[in-house]
């Protein structure tokens, strides 16, 4: 078995790496700091927007992730509310609002009508307000008004 020493060396190296990762990762994870509410994020928020398959006719994708502050673990089943000024309505209109849940990887994705510039910027609004974690409102701005998707990421802190 001439290859055994090599294997053993690999195993030791792998074990050492795992040990190192195990020691380092909790320290690295502590750098996952909670997302702060953005200025204007809560504007035209409507509490309790219903969970929907799609807002209006769709054609635009809002997506993102929800993780826990500290260890950065993905949070499944978290309700994220989304609203914007779109081709189908103003921010204040009830039909411009909808909610979705994160999957097992902490990811969410909701189809909605095309966001159009309002109050000078093409932007969307997102809220986490279920209470298990501290409430966060986000207001991401699109790089271009022609974009057909937008992302926003939450790192939540236990309430």
């Amino acid at each position: 078995m001439p290859q055994l020493p090599i294997r053993r060396r690999h195993l030791i190296a792998a074990g050492g790496a795992a040990l190192a990762l195990g020691l380092i990762s909790p320290l690295a994870a502590q750098s996952v700091t909670p997302t702060r509410t953005m200025r204007g994020g809560a504007n035209n928020y409507r509490p309790g927007a219903p969970i929907v398959d799609r807002i209006g006719g769709g054609g635009f994708w809002m997506s993102g992730t929800v993780r826990r502050a500290g260890d950065g673990a993905p949070l499944a089943g978290q309700r994220i509310q989304i609203w914007a000024h779109t081709t189908e309505g103003h921010e204040r209109d009830p039909q411009s609002h909808g909610a979705t849940l994160t999957d097992e990887n902490g990811m969410f994705r909701l189809e909605m009508p095309q966001i159009v510039p309002a109050f000078g910027q093409p932007h969307g609004h997102l809220a986490y307000d279920s209470g298990d974690y501290e409430t966060v409102f986000l207001r991401p701005v699109m790089g271009s008004a022609r974009d057909t998707s937008l992302e926003a990421h939450f790192v939540l802190q236990p309430a």
């Binding site: 204007g40 504007n43 000024h85 779109t86 103003h90 159009v116 000078g120 093409p122």
Partner: protein, 197 residues
């Protein structure tokens, strides 16, 4: 008369008509209008009209528009000044009705949009300028002239920065053109020694 006075009057008026008319026509053609309710559209156009008036105000103040006597120029300048105040109030009220929290953020200087601070600055400078204009007879003429010219610069600079940073009602090229006109006009009028007063 100075430089521009040598141009044929018809050319100056036609040029001014184009400089003011094109941005208005371009804004009226904006695809965004389809997604806005009338009060939001009106608020946007009040802003466009405000910028148009700002481009004309220095020309009237400096008496640069041909065919108008200094007296007519001054009267039109006052009239346009009052119209400008109304346009700004219409702009803010219309936006407030459209989205109250966004306008409250702007007025409290906590808006996420960088252009709004310039608009607020220009608005207060305009209100100050209008107040001084009303109280003008009680002011020393030197103080009045300095304050009015200084505020005019702030109003135009603030408004131009506000307008250029916005993605909205106005078409970008015609907006830039009108902004340049307003900027040059105010610099010309403020630098001029014999502006109508």
């Amino acid at each position: 008369m100075r430089g521009p006075g040598r141009l044929p009057a018809a050319l100056i008026w036609a040029g001014l008509g184009l400089a003011l008319g094109l941005p208005l026509i371009a804004a009226a053609d904006s695809p965004l209008l389809a997604y806005r309710r009338p009060v939001y559209i009106a608020a946007g156009f009040a802003g466009v009209v405000g910028l148009m008036l700002l481009a004309v105000q220095p020309l009237l103040a400096a008496g640069l528009l041909p065919g108008l006597s200094p007296r007519q120029s001054r009267r039109l300048h006052r009239f346009a000044g009052a119209a400008l105040v109304l346009a700004v109030i219409g702009h803010v009220v219309g936006l407030w009705i459209t989205s109250p929290p966004d306008v409250i953020d702007v007025l409290l200087l906590r808006s996420p949009t960088p252009f709004s601070i310039w608009g607020v600055l220009a608005m207060w400078a305009l209100f100050a300028s209008a107040t001084l204009a009303v109280l003008r007879r009680r002011l020393a003429s030197r103080l009045w002239r300095r304050a009015h010219r200084g505020l005019a610069l702030v109003i135009v600079a603030g408004t131009v920065a506000h307008a250029l940073l916005i993605q909205g009602t106005m078409e970008p090229v015609s907006k830039a053109g009108l902004s340049i006109l307003a900027g040059l006009a105010v610099l010309w009028a403020v630098a001029g020694r014999n502006s109508a007063r």
